[in-house]
Symmetry: C2
Subunit: 623 residues, 2 copies
């Protein structure tokens, strides 16, 4: 490893000048962007990438031996792209396509630029993602790879960063390196701590990280000397490292340096030429070298066939238990599968996986935002993370979840304790908006099995699906209604009861599917023929079967243990948006409260008796 | 203030014994609940409430002079209710209704128990809510009130707690007191730090709090002596205080003490009698005294009429600017209005309010979860908080938002930069799922004005609405289309173009409303008559007008700058769930990218040209 002495700092300085030119020019051309936020981190990043401490094989960017660099302060994207231009991976002229419609060089980095490790832009997420990558390197790939995360000071207000800081320390990740660009200025003014590096140091140290201060974050010698600390032997340091650098927002443009009021603004037309001249002569061809790591041949574990399931029709098994069983059973088939849980594995039932495959289970404690960020990082490094907690608590991480698609991170989510049917714990624990949340994920899959057999099949389907998937599990036991050999696919459904002359169709999933089956029996006794559809795949939805029911029966009901907005009812209504058959949506409409599951299903009008009642009232009205 | 010497610790001990009886009995009767988590905090809470340091007027629980107590570890609800029984506000027999269907004593505290300060149960939220109450006391009410928050150790993994810790320190809130119950055991096992009180102390001190350790959290003398620190004169301490207590989960039940595996489980039937006997003889009538504070006569500021608005039809004004104007203009009419912003006030335009009324503006930095928790606390203390940030970043706080209804906290939310039409910053900054999120809030209002006039009217409507409300603002300028005197109500809409023989109805809000107006003109040139409805109130929705359009026109379109799921389209489909007229929903369906607003509206098929095209294709198909 080169030391500060060995690096050609004058070359690094020249690269920094050109990087500054590129930053100013691309944002000026785009008419938008964050040049001043980018300028404060130039030396830090140039010295990191081209100073010898970062190892990356440009021809094999996905190799597990490579170091990783994430820009948690994603608005510094002009710098990010300029660095890769200096590395020879972006043509300088292409930098001028920054933020243009269709350009892969988007306003904040996304997967559309192939070297982007993870999409960022919503602050305070990059450290969790980097943590996930570092965990993969350390505990799964057993790679010497380091993960570097560029952090802004404003975003250190985000709690998710402190979740990551705690958990990185707990997991002894000395291969995770944060570089904190303390430029004092947030978007609308000074941060809480200004340039007081010590206020960051003492807090981050208190969490167990090693902190290295850089008094002048624009002095190459200081920076390189600090980075040399990465190689110093600390006798088995198990601590992550945070470099904390005093920087100047707008560094390189004297009229803007350290001044508020310039966040997110390209330089003025009147000033641009003078500013560019201030960086010295253009040197579009200057390039820096990134030493490659020693590549090793990864030895991925082989996939083995999963054991067959063996449930008995009529047994009662909670789908959360079936999920726990499935995770363990399928682990052999999907060797990249790992499980993350938020302190509730005894409730979500990932505990079995934890006990049997501890090397592939990661306790993420009561910190759901970080858990999702970590899963994102793991997915981006080729693993198949299953994230589990109560469905209600996944709302804690909606910002992280909505960012997954922009990284093309195929994270799998499983939310337990859905609906009012969890009972006496009351509404704080009830997932009542999770279907709505996950349905908004583009190309995401939303599944809600009603029994153990379908749960096992759908967990398998989630694992095989190349994208984001969410599965909802129920706390209470429900009857097994399917044969072990029954097949279930994403986008499928099951018609469980039907005749050639049904009076009504009942569409449900999960716990209310069983209520519909009971309602079917009662209605049958009263001469009312009800078709019953198990809509276990809410997104994508089985349009053909829904449409056929709408064609063949005069009235449809949807029944869900979920709020009415954005759930099964609205998914069916969307499917039938051009169809005339009326749809009556039963859902949780009253303020949910504590009570027994049966009392609450009844109270909310989604029990078998309520369904029968609703059907009969509707039919009276329409007849 | 009494000191430890003056308190009758034997009385406190007796109360503690009886409180333990109540905890064990009510969870045993309910067959569920968290007795061991409750037992670890008994002495801490009994000594707080009845040891003289907590001041509360039981006859005027809402008085601003009262201290406040929030159970951030909401699952210790058995303790919470037992305390109030010992205070004489719950009949001991009523404790046995715990968790019963219909009981106000829910599994986790909610507003249905009138003394609950705030609903909790989703961990890591109580400190933010307490922070909000402390801010109200210190900066708005100028009350000597203190806010106490009982915290669990597991939930200290939640980032939101560290957001609150940072910001409490920044705002110098020496009237905020945390009591951290370090019982070592989370739900599925030990926490990251076990009983290492110092690991909490050094971290919380590093953030600027004063920490006081209690080595034995079950020793009344130690606890009272520690609480005496609240009165010690520290020469103008501006620091919040955290008491960090070593406690035993399950304390009082020797067979369960400090053992894992008992979280969330009532005692066994075989053991209950012996356990109760272990607490000594029952003493159902024992009561503790809570000294009242000195009540003062609050002097609420008077409401004054707001100035009239004065926009010109045809001017272009961004609705985010109109929002900033409205907030300031209405401040006089709603003297309890306060504004909170997440480091983006120059973007959300709350900056004007900040500059003119700094005493009523609270910078909450890049920490949205805490911002929403603080707003919740403020609303519960009688203020009218307007929470502003980018719509996309409100997803960061979905867990906090979904908890608001259970507290009956009437928080107002305003999300800027909605939709792809923000342009070049790209998808990380685009609010595309916010309508879906806020529609799931029971009795919540969702508003999306298209111009400055309607924005001003709807901000007023939000303020007048006694509940949770959300308003979406647009980044770019849009034409003023309404007269200053036009009235807009929650649940209303405007039919902007119509005839007796319309071929199609276009329903939109916000930026796409203008696209529909442009499409209307183009279609008119081509002989197609389009009704145009401004659906500025998405929830509740103007069913009558939508239905009339469905009755009178053969085809409806909805157009929204939002994902298709859970938005305007599905709201309209729900409204017309029993109607035969087809609805065609245009929305953001392609992966959003950077680009100009116009390019993106076109790309996503929600521009005027796209609407014209869609209408013509549909009409060809149906003719």
């Amino acid at each position: 490893m080169p030391t500060a002495m060995q690096c050609d700092t004058s070359h690094l300085e020249q690269i920094s000048r050109q990087v500054r030119r590129w930053i100013v020019r691309c944002t000026f051309e785009a008419g938008s962007g964050h040049p001043t936020s980018s300028l404060s981190a130039v030396e830090l990043m140039v010295d990191l990438l081209f100073g010898g401490h970062f190892r990356f094989n440009l021809d094999q960017p996905d190799h597990p031996a490579n170091d990783r660099l994430i820009f948690s302060k994603g608005h510094a994207s002009p710098l990010y792209y300029a660095l890769w231009a200096a590395a020879g991976k972006i043509e300088p002229d292409d930098l001028l396509s920054y933020r243009e419609f269709g350009s892969r060089l988007e306003g904040h980095p996304t997967a559309r630029f192939s070297l982007t490790e993870a999409a960022t832009g919503s602050l305070g997420q990059g450290l969790s993602i980097g943590l996930g990558m570092a965990m993969v390197a350390r505990y799964l790939d057993k790679s010497p790879s380091r993960t570097f995360v560029l952090l802004g000071d404003s975003e250190m207000a985000e709690g998710a960063q402190w979740e990551a800081i705690q958990i990185a320390s707990h997991y002894k990740l000395d291969n995770l390196v944060g570089i904190l660009d303390v430029n004092r200025l947030g978007q609308r003014g000074a941060t809480m701590y200004g340039h007081d590096l010590d206020s960051y140091r003492k807090r981050i140290e208190a969490f167990g990280w090693r902190c290295v201060l850089i008094d002048d974050g624009h002095d190459n010698d200081q920076i390189l000397h600090a980075f040399d600390e990465l190689n110093a032997d600390h006798g088995g340091s198990d601590r992550p490292t945070m470099f904390i650098a005093h920087t100047i927002k707008g560094k390189g443009i004297p009229s803007l340096e350290n001044e508020g009021g310039h966040h997110g603004k390209p330089v003025d037309e009147d000033d641009v030429d003078e500013i560019l001249a201030g960086f010295g002569a253009a040197n579009e061809q200057i390039r820096g070298t990134i030493p490659p790591p020693i590549l090793y041949q990864p030895d991925p574990p082989a996939s083995r066939q999963a054991e067959r399931i063996d449930y008995e029709i009529g047994d009662t098994v909670a789908t959360r238990d079936a999920y726990g069983n499935a995770l363990l059973r399928l682990a052999a088939k999907f060797p990249q599968m790992v499980a993350l849980d938020g302190e509730v594995c005894n409730s979500t039932r990932t505990k079995r996986f934890r006990d049997e495959l501890p090397a592939r289970f990661f306790e993420m404690f009561v910190a759901e935002q970080n858990m999702v960020g970590v899963a994102t990082g793991m997915a981006l490094r080729g693993k198949m993370p299953f994230v589990s907690t109560f469905a209600a608590f996944l709302t804690r991480a909606f910002d992280q979840i909505r960012m997954c698609p922009y990284s093309d991170a195929a994270v799998k989510f499983v939310g337990s304790h859905c609906g009012v049917s969890i009972g006496r714990d009351g509404p704080s624990q009830m997932g009542l908006e999770d279907i709505a949340m996950f349905r908004t994920i583009q190309n995401g899959v939303v599944l809600y099995p009603c029994d153990a057999v379908s749960t096992e099949a759908l967990v398998n389907a989630m694992a095989e699906y190349e994208g984001i998937a969410y599965l909802r599990t129920t706390r209470g036991k429900t009857p097994v209604i399917y044969d072990n050999d029954e097949s279930f696919g994403i986008g499928g459904s099951k018609v469980l009861r039907s005749s050639d002359d049904d009076h009504v169709t009942l569409i449900a999933a999960g716990i209310t599917l069983h209520e519909c089956l009971a309602a079917h029996a009662t209605l049958a006794d009263r001469g009312v023929r009800a078709r019953v559809i198990d809509l276990y795949s809410i997104k994508p939805l089985d349009h053909a079967t829904i449409r056929r029911a709408a064609d063949e029966t005069p009235l449809l009901f949807t029944v869900e243990d979920h709020f009415p907005e954005g759930g099964i009812g609205e998914a069916v209504l969307t499917s039938l948006s051009d169809h005339a058959t009326p749809v009556n949506c039963l859902a949780v409409r009253k303020r949910p409260i504590s009570g027994s599951p049966d009392d609450l299903l009844e109270f909310e009008g989604i029990s078998a008796a309520s369904i029968v009642d609703a059907v009969e009232r509707c039919r009276c009205t329409t007849q």
